[in-house]
């Protein structure tokens, strides 16, 4: 990506939405670093349980809940929303409207998340996977999300052309579906909890919904937008894209119950999930078919997206394979499940979002990234860290699964067997944290440089004070 090309492509949509969207992306990168630190602590606690756990805020359960929450709601949602709004604005051809709502929503979302993490540290987590945020911040998160999403929906309804593109569908679906998902889960888990194991069923539906109906669509909206832009070619087999979209939206949420195989829930739930996982391979193949141009494509953002796409495909395939009862009974409750989740959410969604950020930032700021060296260093370090993390977790999970399924192996022996691999996973978390610090530094430098160059409209050195700049733009 040369400076010239990035400058040439800056449109009115970009300059007008610059600060609100940089606020979202900056928030995302901040949470990515925080989640990295928390994941490192959580990872160390897996092989050395005494590490920091004498502090009540850092019991292994709470650290893991905080790390997951910061990563998903801090990094993935902020970044995904920022990029989705940007893409909807650009596809719509009109400057984004209701940007002041985006700013208010972003602040509310991030303050709510901060309070939520403090709440988890104090012991108010809900104990539902991917919905650990305490009940008292959840309504605020819902309203904040709505405030951010309004700009996207307005960009969709006010678009210049009648026709729509795949990025449109995925982005709007994520913006529209998450509030339904969160409010339904809140109503039945927090305010009027359903009874007994039904809570696990609802929590499974919600967690899968967050993945299939929000995070994956946000990432795919980015991939469908960036890949044809960078490769300069129409997407192959694009006529199948609607089928790929609807198969994810209709089938995706049904796959969550695969984690409940063998558990105290009706057996038809995992059975449906197994069938849904296999059906979802239609979606995965169509995405791969459409976006295959990314693999081997030139440019940094496409390189990230290509890796993300491979991880997304591999994740879908592994979900389908490991959902089968004979395999699930072996992998269930082990680090193999964690490895698969990391493959999906870090390898798949996050890599695509990284690619999107590398593509979007030069166009939002009107300047190239501050350091091209940091960009490639980030990519290389990230790939090494991610590969090490996945291999270590998968190996630890394999050892753990074998040990768990032999009744005579004690938990002490199992801990000793998995320890070397878990040490590897902690090393990987350290590498990932280093990699993401490179991104954070590069992001700050690029934004500061942009601040300095447009000092007349934005106070120098205050990239994160968009309320003031918003007024400047609105006038």
């Amino acid at each position: 990506m040369t400076p010239a090309s990035s400058n040439a492509e800056v449109t009115a949509v970009d300059t007008q939405a610059r600060w609100p969207l940089l606020l979202l992306l900056g928030g995302a990168i901040k949470w990515l670093v925080i989640a990295g630190v928390l994941s490192l602590i959580a990872s160390i606690q897996l092989h050395s349980p005494a590490f920091m756990s004498h502090w009540p805020a850092f019991t292994p359960g709470r650290t893991a809940a905080m790390a997951e929450t910061a990563f998903v709601y801090g990094w993935a949602f902020n970044a995904g929303l920022g990029l989705a709004l940007w893409i909807l604005g650009r596809l719509g051809g009109e400057p984004l409207r209701a940007l002041n709502w985006v700013v208010v929503g972003t602040f509310a979302w991030n303050i709510g998340l901060t309070l939520g993490l403090v709440g988890i540290a104090l012991g108010d987590a809900t104990s539902f996977s991917l919905l650990q945020l305490p009940g008292y911040v959840q309504p605020a998160m819902l309203v904040a999300y709505g405030a951010i999403a309004v700009a996207g929906i307005l960009a969709w309804s006010g678009r210049r052309t009648d026709s729509t593109f795949a990025s449109h569908w995925y982005a709007v679906a994520a913006l529209f579906l998450f509030p339904w998902l969160l409010s339904a889960a809140q109503a039945t888990l927090i305010w009027t909890p359903v009874r007994g194991v039904l809570q696990a069923v609802v929590a499974g539906w919600y967690a899968q919904g967050v993945w299939s109906l929000c995070l994956a669509p946000l990432a795919l909206a980015v991939a469908y937008y960036v890949v044809p832009k960078v490769t300069g070619r129409a997407l192959p087999a694009y006529e199948f894209a609607p089928l790929g979209f609807w198969s994810l939206i209709v089938i995706g949420a049904w796959t969550g119950a695969r984690h409940l195989t063998g558990g105290p829930v009706p057996a038809w739930l995992p059975t449906l999930a197994i069938a849904a996982c296999s059906l979802l391979l239609f979606h995965t193949s169509i995405v791969l078919l459409n976006l295959r141009g990314a693999i081997g494509g030139a440019g940094n953002s496409v390189a990230f997206i290509a890796w993300g796409l491979l991880a997304y495909t591999a994740g879908g395939l592994l979900d389908a394979i490991t959902s089968f009862r004979s395999i699930a009974s072996f992998t269930q409750f082990t680090h193999l499940v964690t490895a698969q989740q990391q493959l999906a959410i870090y390898g798949g969604v996050s890599m695509i979002l990284f690619g999107g950020i590398y593509f979007a930032l030069p166009r939002l700021t009107g300047r190239p990234w501050a350091s091209a060296g940091f960009v490639s260093a980030h990519r290389v370090t990230l790939l090494i860290g991610l590969a090490l993390l996945l291999v270590s977790l998968a190996a630890a999970g394999w050892v753990q699964a074998n040990d768990l399924n032999h009744k005579d192996v004690t938990f002490a022996a199992m801990a000793a067997d998995t320890r070397p691999w878990l040490l590897g996973a902690s090393g990987a978390q350290l590498i990932l944290l280093t990699a993401n610090l490179l991104l954070a530094v590069n992001f700050c430098r690029s934004v500061c440089a942009c601040c300095c160059c447009c000092a007349e409209s934005a106070p120098v050195g205050s990239p994160f004070r968009p309320a003031a700049t918003m007024e400047a733009h609105a006038s």
């Binding site: 756990s53 004498h54 359960g61 026709s163 529209f176 998902l181 063998g262 105290p264 009706p266 499940v337």
Partner: protein, 227 residues
């Protein structure tokens, strides 16, 4: 997808369908699950947990114990759950109907705790659990913050921990579990679902020869016996 109304209706229909199918469907099946009344001993099962144990479950949830411990025993043919002595039967939905926040868990870094209090050959007692929580072990973190190290005023507290070796508190001091520690241990000691519900018995294995018509007979008989 030019038609916005159809598009949004499709999105809403998809999420509503999955909600209806998974959540309402399983609610229809399990929502009205009642305790099982055993006429033999005129008692209904499961027992409602005592208040202190119900409070202990909230402590268990807020510390995040479920990130390493599950509370679900799978069927005899799945994994080594039953071979490890975690339970003599699979867990069923009825086991959890009185639990405020069931802690099924998704990870087994540590052992399953479904039937901790009935563990064979030896179940831990309150002293063992208090000591594990206070001092931790190589495999388990120490939660010293659940205990109070205080000077002995008058008589030694009846609930003070009996510690030996390096853990012995300084002379004139004692380690006393807080109310949270006591609820947590009471909860852990209440974990014992041994009652055999009709639905918790494994289905009889399909006969090797193709005379499946008689396959279901033993269950029906067994259920009849129980009643």
């Amino acid at each position: 997808m030019k038609n916005g109304f159809v598009f949004f209706a499709g999105l809403f229909g998809s999420i509503a369908l999955s909600w209806g199918g998974l959540v309402l469907g399983s609610h229809k099946q399990l929502g009205g699950l009642a305790p099982f009344f055993d006429e033999g001993d005129s008692t209904s099962y499961p027992n409602r947990p005592p208040g202190v144990a119900a409070r202990g479950q909230l402590v268990y949830a807020d510390l995040g114990c479920a990130s390493c411990h599950t509370q679900q025993v799978r069927r005899p043919d799945v994994g080594a759950d039953q071979a490890r002595g975690w339970g003599e039967r699979q867990s069923v939905a009825r086991d959890y109907i009185f639990q405020l926040r069931p802690q099924l868990g998704a990870s087994r870094i540590g052992p399953d705790l479904t039937n901790l209090a009935g563990r064979k050959p030896s179940a831990p007692d309150a002293d063992d659990l208090m000591k594990l929580l206070y001092a931790g072990s190589e495999l388990h973190p120490a939660y010293g913050f659940l205990f109070e190290n205080r000077p002995i005023v008058g008589e030694r507290s009846a609930v003070a921990l009996k510690l030996t070796g390096a853990l012995t508190p300084a002379p004139g001091r004692e380690i006393v579990p807080t109310e949270r520690a006591q609820s947590l241990v009471a909860y852990l000691l209440s974990l014992n679902n041994t009652y055999d519900y009709p639905e918790s018995r494994p289905l009889p294995k399909a006969p090797a020869k193709p005379d499946g018509a008689h396959g279901a007979a033993p269950t029906a008989k067994k259920e009849g016996e129980k009643k």
